[in-house]
Structures are given as C-alpha cells and as structure tokens.
C-alpha cells in the first residue's frame, strides 16, 4: 500500500469486523453483569469476566490496527484533524457525564437536604415526615443510612493527591516538549514520570477507600454523602486508571520511536484526556473534600 499523505483526497478504511466483535464483547459483559445483579452468579460471573476480557482484547486489537495504519503513513492531515475534533467532542461527552453526578451533589447540598430539614415551603415535610432532622453537610439523611460515619479530611491524603495530579500534568507537558524537539528519550522519561505519578495517585486513592471502609464507616451506603462521594471519586478513579493505561501505551510507542516532531496526535489526545481528568479532580477536591 503506497503512502497517502496528500490533503486533497479522502481516506476511507477497509471493512472491519472489529466493531462487530467489540459489540458482542460488550453484550456478553453487560448480560453477565445483569445476571450477577440478579444473583445468578454462576452464569453471571462467567459472562462478566469473559465479556470483560473480550472487551480488553478487542480494544487492543482495534487500537493496534489504528496505530499500524498511522505508522504506515496512511493518515493525511484531514484524518489528523478528524481525530482532534473527535477526541475533543468525546471529552466534552465525558464532562457532561461527570456533570450529572456533580449536579446530583449540588442538588442534594443546596436543595434536597435543606428541604428535608424543612427549608422554604417544605416546613411540613420536616414536621410530618422527618421531625428533628437538621440540614448539615456531610449527612447520611434523616434515617441515618449506613450508621454514623466520619469523612476524610481534605488536607491530608486528598491534598497530597491533588499535588500528585497537578505535578503529573506538568511532567506530561515536559514529555510533550520532548516530542516537539524530536527527543524521544526525553519524552519517554517524562512519560514514565507521569505514569508513576498516576499510579501513585491510584495507590493513595485505594488507601483512602480502605481507610473509609475499615475505620471511618464511610461507605456507598452512607446516605447521600456516601453516594456522591464514592460515585464521583470512583468514576474519577476509573478514568485515571484508563488514562494511566493510555499513558503507558504512549510511553512504549514513544520508546519505540513512534511520533514525529509535528505529527503526534496519539500523544496529544492522551495528554488532553489526562488534563481533563486533572480538571475533574480539582472540581472534586474543592466540592467534595474542601467545601
């Protein structure tokens, strides 16, 4: 296949069975998960893990194919722009996903908890249904869901994690400078530092969860505080995990000499994602831990 880097022709990939297989993988995964939730463990577990494994395999196969196409020079500048736009819109959709959970947090703190405590027109709600409940934050609600709990202080591990993530944003930028100078070694080293910081963040986050469950009695069941705390930090943690895996892949690609000074969107896309995860964390740190 000859190279095609002219900007005035369209690039259309050949037919592919990857998306179809990926769909099958997803369906096996969710039907396994669904059966597990319905307490049909034997089928559920098998399908869940088979599906999960299949998804991971298909992700690798698909992305490896894309990397091969990219490295064999099939992508012109138009394809490059396509990936830029697509990654940007994908990150926007992720922002909206987190928006739903932040929305739930703000709604609970500003509206529903005060209402249950009788604020505004809801006096009778409090009098009749939840007499004696006062609006405080954190709360596990008038029924004391999950029992008494304490929260993780913001200025301990969470602050450390904030510093770790912010630093990783800087190291990621150093790696980018390395690439732009054509210095793959520099880029690889700084990427390794970024990956290490990402892993560090995940380690401390895991520690924090263990601490919450074993000593603070702060669990998913701890009313609205526990719900918003774990769902927000949990989904964020999943995104950091994904981001770290992507950084590792980019690091290996860098070490293999992929990317050029001016064509390295594979790197940039992951860097964008990493900065997005960073920004979400800052929102989390402020609204979940500090305020």
């Amino acid at each position: 296949m000859s190279q095609n880097s002219t900007a005035d022709t369209y690039y259309v990939p050949a037919g592919s069975s990857w998306p179809f297989l990926m769909t099958i993988a997803l369906v096996i995964f969710v039907s396994g998960f669904g059966h597990m939730l319905n307490e049909d463990m034997s089928f559920g577990r098998i399908a869940f893990f088979t599906g999960l494994g299949f998804i991971i395999v298909m992700t690798f196969v698909w992305l490896r194919g894309v990397i091969h196409e990219s490295e064999s020079g099939k992508y012109n500048m138009q394809v490059d722009r396509t990936y830029r736009w697509s990654m940007g819109w994908f990150i926007f959709s992720e922002v909206m996903f987190f928006g739903a959970f932040f929305g739930a947090l703000f709604y609970a703190r500003i509206l529903s908890v005060p209402w249950v405590a009788g604020a505004g027109p809801e006096l009778m709600t409090n009098e009749v249904l939840w007499k004696g409940f006062e609006a405080v934050w954190p709360t596990n609600g008038p029924a004391d869901m999950g029992g008494e709990f304490s929260t993780i202080p913001a200025w301990g591990v969470p602050f450390l994690n904030t510093l770790i993530l912010l630093t990783s944003g800087v190291t990621c930028t150093f790696a980018h400078h390395g690439l732009k100078e054509g210095n793959h070694r520099k880029a690889t080293i700084w990427l390794a530092a970024t990956v290490a910081l990402g892993c560090g963040f995940l380690f401390f986050q895991a520690e924090e969860y263990i601490e919450a469950y074993s000593h603070l009695n702060l669990t998913l069941e701890s009313g609205i505080y526990g719900s918003t705390f774990f769902m927000l930090t949990g989904f964020h943690g999943m995104h950091v995990t994904l981001g770290t895996i992507m950084l590792i892949i980019i690091m290996f690609r860098c070490a293999k000499g992929h990317f050029t000074e001016d064509r390295h969107f594979g790197f940039e896309g992951v860097a964008w994602y990493w900065h997005f995860v960073d920004v979400v964390w800052i929102g989390l740190f402020i609204f979940v831990y500090v305020v």
């Binding site: 296949m1 022709t9 037919g15 396509t82 736009w85 909206m96 996903f97 739903a100 929305g103």
Partner: protein, 558 residues
Amino acid sequence: MSHADTHDAHDDHHHGPVTLKDGFVPWALRWIGTTNHKDLGTLYLIFAFTMFFIGGVMSLIIRAELFQPGMQLVSPEFFNSMTTMHALVMIFGGVMPGFVGLANWMVPLMIGAGDLALPRVNNWGFWILPFAFTLLLSTLFMDGGGPASGWTMYPPLVLQTGDALPFVIFAIHLMGISSITGAINVIVTILNLRAPSMTLLKMPLFVWTWLITAYLLIAVMPVLAGAVTMLLTDRYFGTSFFTAAGGGDPVMFQHIFWFFGHPEVYILILPAFGIVSTIIPTFARKALFGYDSMVYATASIAFLSFIVWAHHMFTVGMPVAGELFFMFATMLIAVPTGVKVFNWIATMWRGSMTFETPMLFAVGFVFLFTIGGFSGLMLAIAPADFQYHDSYFVVAHFHYVLVPGAVFSIIAGVYYWIPKWTGVMYSEFWGKVHFWLSAIFINVTFFPQHFVGLAGMPRRIPDYNGQFADFNWISTVGAFAFFLAQFIFIFNMMRCMARKGEKATDRVWEGAHGLEWTVPSPAPYHTFEVPPEQISIPEDELTAVHDEFDALDGHKLT
C-alpha cells in the same frame, strides 16, 4: 492518482460491493464489517423501520385494550410494559436511528465527503443497536416482566422492576454509546470533511440541523447514562440518590432525566426541520426563505432546550419562581419555532408548487406539527398544565409532534431521496395513497385524544370511565388503519430496492439544487474520491422555469 491511494477498501472498488450472488457468507460478512456510509445508512433505515413495526405492534396492543372500557386483553402490568417499551422502542429504536440513517446516507453526499469521518466507529454505532434492542425486548420475558414504569423511569416506582431492571439500564447504556459515537461522527464529518468551497452558511439545512442535533446528543446522552447509573446503584449498591431517608430526593431523578429529556425532544425534531427545509424549496421551486434565520432559529431552539426541562414537572412540586421561569422560557421556544413555520410558508408563497409524495408529507408536516406545537404552548402554561398533566392531552400533543412530525419527515425524506439511493422512482400513485391514508388516520387516531384528555382521561391506565368510550374506539380504529396504511410504504420502498420501476434521472427533481443531485442515480458506492468543486446546482435554469410560471400567472391575472 489511483484509487488505491485513497481507499483501503480497494477490494470492492472495481467490482462494486459483494452481493448475495457471491455467496451468503461473504455477503453477510460485507454487511457486518462494512465501513461504507451508504451501506450503514441502509442498515440504520432498515433497523429503524423494523423498530417502527415492533413499536407499532405494541401501540396496537395498547389501543386494542383501550378499544372499550373495562379490562379485556392484557393484564395491567403488561399494559404498562407496553406503554414503556413502545416509547423506548419508538424513540431510541425508530426515530433516532431513522435520522442517523438519513444522515449517514445524505450528509457525505450533501457536503462532498467521501464517507463519514470515522467509518469503523460508524459501523460500531450501528451494530450496537440490534443487540441493545434484543436485550431490551428480552426483558419482557424475564421474572417480574418488562419495565412498566413508563419510559421516564421515575424512582421509586422503577426500582420495583423485577429481573429486567439491570438489563434495561444496560440496554440504555449501549444505546447511549451508539448515539454518542454516531453524533461525534456526524459532527466531525460536518466540521472537517466539507468540500473546500462549502462554508458553514452555505451548508444545506439538513446538514445544519444535524450538526446542532449531534451537539445536543453529545451533551445530553451522557447525562441520561449518569441518571440510569444512579438508578442502578440505588437499587443494587445501596446508594441514596433518590431516597429522602438518606438525604437524596426522588424528584432529583426527574430533574436529571429531563435535563436529558428535553434536549432529546429536539434531537427528535431538529433533523425533521432540516428535511422539510430541504423538500419544500424543491417543490415550491424557490430558494428557501430566510436561510440564515433558519440556522439561527435552530441554534436558538437548541440553546433554549437546555433551560426548559422542568416544564415536564410543573405538578411535582417546585418553588413558584421555578414554575414561572420554566413557563416563560418554554414559551420563548415558540419564537424560533414560529420563525421556522413562517419561513416554510413564505417559501411556498407564490412558488410554482407541485405535490409529489415528499412534498405532500412535508406540507402535512408543517400543518400537523404546528398543531402539536400549539398544544405544546398550552401545556407550557404552568397553571393550565395542572389540569392537562398526565392526561391524554399530553399523549395527543407529543404524538402530534412525533408522528406527523418526526415520522412524517423521515418518510418524506425516504421518498425524496430513494430515487438517488436505488436509481428508480417509487410509485407516485401509491405514494399519494399512502400519504392521504396516513394523514387522515393519524388525525382520526390522535385528534380525539385531545378531547378525552381535556375531559380528564389519565394516560398509562388500561381502563377508563365509560364517558370516554366513543372517542377511544374512534382512536383505536384510526391507529389500526394508520398501521395498515404503512404497508403501502413498505411495499413501495421494497419495489425500489428491487430496482423495479421507472429509471430515475440524476437530478430526479427539477427544483432540486443540492450537491447530492449532481452525482449519478444510484449514487456510486464510493461517491466522492476527492472533494468536488461544484457544491450545488446553479439557480439559473430554475429561475427560468419560475419566470415562465410567473409570466403565466401574470397572464392569467390580466
């Protein structure tokens, strides 16, 4: 420059796509693996019409039960499952994939692109759908039956669903992946793959409305995913998002859901506006009146759609300031929508109109959608909504905007473009029969529902007071007749797909100007290898025809 340079898909390049004659397995593999926007557009449309059929059968079960007062055919639980499933299937399986199918086929042809920007992702977005809907429909056979909470899935009711709940939620997640990837694909195609001379304000309106629809999809589908995820964790993982006892609030679900749900309403209608804005100028043989204002009106509707969600919740309890805000913001939508309706009318004004089937459906759309719009304005009035809420008036309202609105536009679009897709004309006679039967029976079905609604008949209840009996049997007769009339459409389209019928010219419609009419009929498997220079058919020829008509008109007057 050889073709192999441009396309990886060179294997099917010189011989055309694999057909059934090449054997079943290669044929099946072609459709499973296709990255071609035309193949995927066809798949999307076939899927959408299959779902219209399944959802239609569900609606007939509902209407049959409501034929007379009393319980006759199904249990109340199954009735509720039917209303829930009917909505999910029609919205996510019928209308949305229908529009995506049209976008797949037409957006690249209209802007001069070789394909969508991400062809493999396009394939993924399609193939998720049949599996997601199999999963969704399979819940009807699970312990505890299918979801019966209405498509809005309000807790705590929905949390009483049996084994079906996680599968319904995961099916929605899968549909979300499909919609988001599809929307990213369309938006990036439009932003990045236009022919160089096609500036944003030269794009056809169908492309414009899809651009804005895709933006809405990317913005709100993740919010729906978040909302149903909270349902899942509330039910299975002990969270308290929607439990007041834990400090959460069931009403919070409604806010999050409708933050998705209201933009979703415009996702279901904006592409319809685009189709109608394409068809009316063709058959009025005049340029679209107020092109720029159409674009700005579409954008305004999209913006307003984010700040009106709580008008679905006037009766659940909200501070008065909230009721007022959402009432006035909602009424404001009438302004850009009015701009559109007046523009369509102004386009037709003194045009040289002919009424081929697509035009009939488009004009039917303008007329009947406007009725739905007006009943929407009535519902927007918060104090009046206390009377209308959850009554058949609401059912009549949204079916007027969705069936003679969204669905008519999809049908109009298919009639309008199928000569370009297949290279043969549909039967105009049967097309006209199809239109008149549809237009008459859709009104027989839904117009009486305004009356029973205003008189107080609640929605989502399988039985009703005897006073509503007459209008209900009329409505049921209308529904069955409308359903049967659609078989005319199916056969008309199958005839085209079998390449039986008069051969279509390249331009097909003498008043058509879009880029898609400059390529042969049927459009070649790979249409634009390189971006085209010409982006529309010039006006001259058309103006001449128009002047002739004008002269004739003047002659008659003297």
